[in-house]
Structures are given as structure tokens and as C-alpha cells.
């Protein structure tokens, strides 16, 4: 399990793995928003939390098809399927590797980009905490989506169509927690709901992803 995790992380970080792409995309989305809505700082600070959440979500989405596509093409996914590791574990580890190489950097970059959007000081803590709690769910749901579309030639667009509706609850609670933090309200309820969604997806979706992978490898 550890070997697979390390291999995935190493593949993602090294040249051609597209490690920085998600971060760069996140940066560009955040830079584009002020061009779209205007540079007034109080307007920006009002939409900062939501913009950062949507940017992180889209950056996450962009990197999803890499989770299985390369392994599928060169046949290493078939090898993994015959390995003694259960398929569920493979799915979970793939999601973990995706989170470590995409989700975590996004969380770390978010406070820096928040400066650009003039996020009020009170919002930093809740924003980072909500992203930290929410991005694992994004990776896990995305892994399921990637497993669904792995066998398709041009699955990228379909992947977004399938995964984005599944992201709705996570986005709602995550952005709500960040927004409440900005406004100085209590963030306990949305944070707990967000943590609940993350735990639920980690507990259940590896099974769905594994079932889907088995069908695709048949």
C-alpha cells in the first residue's frame, strides 16, 4: 500500500505529472475573478471565500482524469488489479495520493491567494479549516468519477458533468463555513457537516469506485 502511494506521489511530482498545473489553474481563476466582477475591494472581500472554494473545486476537477488515465493506458491498472491488494484499497490510496498532490497544495496556497481577493482577517482560519476538511471529499468523489469514465476515449467533459453535481453538498457546506467565518458567525454546524460528508465519502466511495473499476477492467 505504501509502495503504491509513494509511486503515485512520485509520478505526480516528477516532470510530466502535472503537479503544478492544478495550482497554476487555481491562481489563474482567482486572478480572473476581479477582471470579471470589477476591482472594488469591498465587493471582492465579500465574494473571496466563495471564489476560493470554487477555484479550489475546479482545480481539483481539472486534475481528476490523471488519477487512473495513465495507469489505464499503460496497463499498470490491470497489474494492480491482479495484485494482492483489494480494489477498494487501490481506490482509496489513489484518492489519498490525489489529495496529497492536489488538495493539500491548494489548501496551502489558498491563504496566499486570499490576500489578492482581500479576504477579511477573520476569514483565514475558517477558510483554511473548511478547505482542509472538504478537499479530501472532493478527491474521493473525484476518484469515483474518474473510475467511472476511465475506459472512455474522451471522458474529460463527461467526467465534469458527472462529478460536479456530486460536489454540490461539499461546496455548500464548505463555502458556507468560510462565509460564516468571514462574517464572524459560529462555524461549528457547517464544519461538522463538512467533516461528516468527508468521513462518509471516505467510508463508502472506495467500494463504489472499486466496483466501477472492476466493471471497467472486465
Amino acid at each position: 500500500m505504501k509502495a503504491l502511494l509513494l509511486r503515485d506521489i512520485r509520478l505526480a511530482i516528477r516532470a510530466g505529472g502535472g503537479f503544478g498545473l492544478g495550482l497554476a489553474f487555481f491562481l489563474i481563476v482567482v486572478v480572473l475573478v476581479p477582471f470579471g466582477v470589477g476591482p472594488q475591494s469591498e465587493l471582492l472581500s465579500r465574494i473571496a471565500a466563495g471564489t476560493l472554494w470554487i477555484g479550489a473545486l475546479l482545480a481539483c476537477l481539472l486534475s481528476l482524469d490523471r488519477i487512473f488515465a495513465l495507469d489505464w493506458e499503460d496497463g499498470s491498472l490491470d497489474l494492480l488489479a491482479t495484485a494482492p491488494l483489494p480494489m477498494e484499497a487501490i481506490a482509496a490510496i489513489k484518492a489519498l495520493a490525489h489529495w496529497l498532490t492536489t488538495g493539500l497544495p491548494l489548501v496551502l496556497a489558498a491563504p496566499i491567494l486570499a490576500v489578492l481577493l482581500n479576504l477579511p482577517a477573520a476569514g483565514y482560519g475558517p477558510l483554511i479549516l473548511s478547505l482542509l476538511l472538504g478537499t479530501p471529499a472532493l478527491s474521493m468523489i473525484g476518484t469515483f468519477g474518474a473510475a467511472l469514465t476511465v475506459g472512455l476515449k474522451r471522458g474529460g467533459l463527461l467526467l465534469s458533468l458527472l462529478v460536479l453535481p456530486l460536489y454540490v453538498p461539499t461546496l455548500i457546506f464548505g463555502a458556507e463555513a468560510a462565509r460564516r467565518g468571514v462574517d464572524g458567525f459560529d462555524t461549528t454546524t457547517p464544519m461538522l457537516m463538512l467533516a461528516g460528508i468527508t468521513c462518509g465519502t471516505i467510508a463508502l466511495l472506495p467500494f463504489a469506485a472499486a466496483a466501477v473499476l472492476r466493471v471497467n477492467l472486465r
Binding site: L152, L162, I172
Partner: protein, 244 residues
């Protein structure tokens, strides 16, 4: 002994449903004409909403069927996963476009009613939003069916998507409640309430709902038959190509 699973045989399914389909379409037509004419022309205007209240005869049944169509797909997907009856998978596939249309009717009639009553075509109200999300789920489901060439793979993947999607659709339904307070009135009909919509509107509404249910069943039967025949034809053509 006669069992429900006999109808998993495509031939038996087609034979039986073919006998029912004219009756289903006929009674759906009768119900809809009766309900709508009664509702539109022989019920009084609401004292606050005026004649706009009458859109309820389209809005409520279509919204109900939009959700029930997804439930039917869920059950059919489960049957496919557990017992692997092809008719079941095809029925789920056949129901999806009908469900999309029902969702669209509900959204459109709601917007048409909302414009004069709420003063806006669209509001980010929990019910409206969750219906929009349901619409997206339908789109994803149909797109996945269309994208995969192998029939069995497509049936497997879409049925799992349907299961996972149901959980997330339900989750979204309650998440949006948390996210925004609603403009939409409470349930028009429910089993455990003493008073529903006023009786004058209630009876034609029930007939309209019956009409929509019958229409849905008839359409799903017909579309499932079409899917079965299309698959049969593909198999025949493949065989011909092999022998030629």
C-alpha cells in the same frame, strides 16, 4: 407458479406490456383531459393568486413524477445489480429522458408561475435549487449511458452512478435547505396532514396526478420496448455481418 421475474424475459415483457400500453395511454388521456379541463375551467380563482393558481395542475404532478422517475430508476438499477435482468437496466435507461422532461416541466411551470407571483422567474430557493441539481443528475446519467459502447458495461456503470447519485441528490436536497431560506410554499399534498390544498383544487389535482402517473408508466413501457427492439436489431445485424 407465476412470478414477477417472468417479466424479466424480454419477449414476455413485450407481449404483456403491448397489451397494456393502449389502455395506459387511453386512461392517461382521459385522466389528463378530465383533470385539466375541470381544473382550468371549473374551479374558482384563488383569492390571492388569481387564475395563476391553476398551473398547479401541471406543476405538482410533473414535480412528483420527476422525483418518482428517479426512484424508479433507482429500483430498476438495484434489480439490475442484484439479479442482472436486462429488461430492468433498459427500463432505467428508458425512464431517464421521461424524468428529465418532467423536471423541465416542473421548472418551467414554476418559473411561469413565479414571475407574476414572486416577481421573479427564478430564485435560489431550496426547492428550486434541488430540482435544478436533480436535472443535472439526470443529464449526467443519460450522458454516461450514451458515452459507453458496451451495453453491459454501460448498464453496470450507470446503475452504480444511480445509487451514488441518489445518496448525493438526497444530501443536496437537505444541504440547500441549510444554505438558503425558502420562498416556496410547503408541500401541496402529504399523507399525514389534516388539510391539504383546498378541496376545490384537490380533486382535479388528484386526477391530474393519476394521469401523469399513467402517462409515465405508458411512456416507460413503450421506451423500454423500443430499447429491447433496438438491441435485438443490433444483435441481428452483428450476426449478419459475421456470416456474410
Amino acid at each position: 407458479m407465476a412470478s414477477l421475474w417472468e417479466y424479466a424475459n424480454p419477449k414476455k415483457f413485450i407481449d404483456t406490456t403491448s397489451r397494456f400500453i393502449p389502455w395506459l395511454f387511453g386512461s392517461a388521456l382521459i385522466c389528463l383531459v378530465t383533470g385539466l379541463v375541470w381544473g382550468f375551467f371549473f374551479t374558482p380563482d384563488d383569492f390571492r393568486q388569481g387564475s395563476t393558481v391553476k398551473i398547479i395542475y401541471l406543476h405538482v404532478p410533473s414535480a412528483l413524477m420527476a422525483i418518482n422517475a428517479w426512484l424508479m430508476m433507482l429500483v430498476a438499477s438495484l434489480i439490475w445489480i442484484v439479479r442482472r435482468h436486462h429488461v430492468s437496466a433498459l427500463a432505467a435507461r428508458a425512464a431517464a429522458p421521461v424524468g428529465v422532461v418532467m423536471t423541465l416541466i416542473a421548472l418551467a411551470t414554476g418559473a411561469i408561475w413565479g414571475q407574476p407571483m414572486w416577481g421573479t422567474w427564478w430564485a435560489w430557493d431550496p426547492r428550486l435549487t434541488s430540482f435544478l441539481i436533480l436535472f443535472l443528475f439526470y443529464l449526467g446519467y443519460i450522458a454516461l449511458w450514451e458515452a459507453i459502447e458496451n451495453d453491459d458495461t454501460a448498464a453496470d456503470l450507470t446503475s452504480i452512478l444511480c445509487l451514488v447519485g441518489s445518496v448525493f441528490a438526497l444530501l443536496s436536497r437537505y444541504a440547500v435547505n441549510f444554505w438558503n431560506q425558502g420562498l416556496h410554499q410547503g408541500a401541496s399534498l402529504s399523507l399525514d396532514k389534516e388539510e391539504n390544498v383546498h378541496d376545490v383544487f384537490y380533486h382535479p389535482l388528484l386526477i391530474c396526478i393519476a394521469g401523469f402517473v399513467l402517462l409515465f408508466i405508458a411512456l416507460v413501457f413503450l421506451r423500454t420496448q423500443t430499447e429491447i427492439r433496438a438491441r435485438r436489431m443490433r444483435a441481428l445485424m452483428a450476426r449478419e455481418r459475421l456470416t456474410a
